[in-house]
Amino acid sequence: MSAQTQSKTDFSTDPNANKGMDFSTDAYLDMDLLRFLTCGSVDDGKSTLIGRLLYDSKSIFEDQLEAAESASLSRGDQRMDLALLTDGLRAEREQGITIDVAYRYFATPKRKFIIADCPGHVQYTRNMVTGASTANLALILIDARHGVIEQTRRHSFITSLLRIPHLVVCVNKMDLVDWSQETYDKIREEFEEFAARFEITDITFVPMSALTGDNVVNRSQNMDWYQGPSLLHHLENVHIAGDRDMIDPRFPVQWVIRPQGDEHHDYRGYGGQIASGVFQVGDEIIALPSGMESKIKSIDIGGVPQPLATPPMSVSIQLEDDIDISRGDMLCRPNNQPTSGQDIDAMVVWMAETPMKVGKKYTVRHTSNEARCIIKNLNYRLDIKTLHRVEEAEDLKLNEIGRIAIRTTKPLFYDPYRQCRVTGSFIIVDEQTNNTVGAAMIIGETS
């Protein structure tokens, strides 16, 4: 059934429309994982697009569809509002907006996908940052009738700030502009022009209609001028294996595994998740902060030996020598170490109602480490509308972004965020409320 013969958002009447994916177990066990987020302004069609992806991959079940349908009807809608499938909280349903990140899941025989469906308004920047922090790819929706707008710029900027390696610009609602190549080309040029200012390495453009399904799962018949893949085809095939850093070994120690019984008397394992690089049995390592060196005796997961470990595996590592290592320490290679320091230059997104104050003390959580810090300086606030630096800024309010200098009470072992998202990020915690109030990306040492 070709997509464009389908009328409106009529997802549920054709019993054969949704036969589901054919998952052989072998294929399922061989799938990899892609986490992506969707961003765009209200009404650009995010929920419709997600509904379409979930539906066509058979991830929406009949009773969920029925619940959304009957909720739509009882609200007096003409047809089912697909947003009801994703907008989960009562306040959202009542206000008809999305206030928090909703996570959605679907799989095709090639990949499993985790969607972070993020709210678009400026006042929900922090929620978008939350969704963006774990994503490998971002979908930015643009309404073809409106082209690149301020929100598009803001979302693209956040995407680049959080260093999401892949970006897909979905030029949506092409049905409303007569499938016009000219309109699409103009939007594409405009986007490329301003995006040149950001460090975004991989940008793909797809003209589509989320409502009719054109270029979402199947190639559109209405836009034969477009030679590229459908969105789903791109999502299934975009090369993500290269996103993992296999060069710089970093292993933050999370938990020391010391069995009490006699049976495993000699076992002393360091539990943690590989942040980057490859660790192999026999590798020489150095432990920070002690500077003690040893060799990897074994790597295991729950007692099952592993020859090597790559990110983001959670393993337990034993060393040849009995050296003193505890939570917050980091294992790396003697010839490849992170920066160890207390004066850190970082971009921060402020996430709390109470503004960030220069001179105030906070707690930071970085890898498995925790330290106290003082905000020494606010270099500038970035106006996310104009991307201008406001140097005279005195504090950072909710959803504001700025460049700060902090000093920590003890050294952190970090890399620039552009090199490693795990060792290059930290959160700021308010010591009175215990709330997470800031998300920070390390630039380097303060000069």
Partner: protein
């Protein structure tokens, strides 16, 4: 660029399947909780999700013992098979199990049986859980909930904060960034932690198959006495789970997609008798897993309301 960083011949080791990625995330979460909290516990219901959590805990902490006990909030409405399974599992893994009974609270007058013709003890689980938290001073509880189960869950953080009354405030959730979990809390506050938040029902089944994890026989097709009630196949057992007036017992081949209380878990008419067949059935399923829980149907926002009250 990638090929240059991957030594030839080793690339198969470098590939990380999505199940391995989800496993790694869950192990990381469990270790964070062990490190950041004084008294965690793992809520063990006997269902497949909590059985998977036990396997993940083994991966996180073996060869040592778990740094927390298992906690079963016993509604008294269990399938006898599920209880037998629970006890055997606990013995096999050699970990500590705490059982806290809804019936004890009802007897004390601290929890009430729901009114109505088909009382469920879902509501009574809430004070029982809070009582267990209070008695043992738990500050973190692992739950096996997944975000694909239900819309309110889809928005819940992995570290989900509860106030002194065990309540969840969906509008005021802590931002949760990267893999940095902020577990700081005051005395009396506690959190629910969902290590398998990002797993789908399919992932759970595939993982059970991949890891060869033993699960209760209730999940596989078997002959059972059921009645048709409100369009669903309801299992029949000893009092108070006998047939109601006008209901006729039918014996059919069924299985359960979730193993909850006998009073609120419907059976599916299914011949799937092994994991492969279950997986095939899940792949072809037309009704979501929570659809088999009678309690969620009550209203659109049912789950959100229960969560706000301190439900898992």
């Amino acid at each position: 660029m990638t090929s240059a960083t991957e030594p030839t011949g080793a690339s198969s080791h470098y590939k990380l399947t999505h199940l391995k990625a989800l496993e790694a995330e869950a192990i990381h979460i469990m270790r964070e909780v062990a490190a950041q909290f004084e008294k965690p516990a793992l809520m063990f219901s006997g269902g497949k999700d909590s059985i998977v959590m036990v396997r993940l805990a083994e991966k996180a902490f073996r060869p040592a013992k778990f740094p927390f006990p298992l906690l079963h909030i016993d509604t008294g409405h269990n399938f006898p098979e599920a209880l037998a399974f629970r006890d055997k599992l606990v013995e096999d893994i050699g970990e500590r199990l705490i059982v806290h009974k809804v019936q004890d609270l009802i007897d004390r007058g601290d929890a009430a049986e729901d009114p109505g013709p088909f009382p469920s003890r879902n509501r009574a689980q809430i004070p029982t859980l809070l009582d267990a938290i209070d008695k043992y001073q738990f500050d973190a509880l692992f739950g096996g909930a997944r975000r694909d189960e239900e819309k309110a869950r889809a928005k819940e953080r992995i570290f989900s904060f509860r106030d002194d009354f065990g309540q969840w405030d969906p509008k005021n959730q802590r931002p949760e960034l990267w893999n940095l979990y902020n577990g700081r809390h005051r005395m009396g506050e506690n959190i629910r932690v969902f290590p398998i938040s990002n797993w789908t029902e399919m992932d759970v089944w595939q993982y059970i198959m991949l890891e060869n994890i033993e699960i209760p026989g209730l999940y596989f097709s078997h002959k059972r006495d059921v009645v048709k009630r409100r369009g669903q196949l309801v299992p029949i057992g000893d009092d108070p789970f006998g047939p109601r007036d006008g209901e006729t017992i039918i014996n059919c081949t069924v299985r359960f997609r979730t193993v909850g209380d006998m009073s609120c878990t419907a059976a599916t008419d299914s011949p799937a008798s092994n994991l492969e067949e279950i997986v095939a059935e899940v792949a072809a399923a037309r009704a979501s897993e929570r659809g088999a829980r009678m309690d969620d149907k009550t209203n659109e926002a049912a789950m959100e309301d229960r969560k706000k009250e301190g439900y898992f």
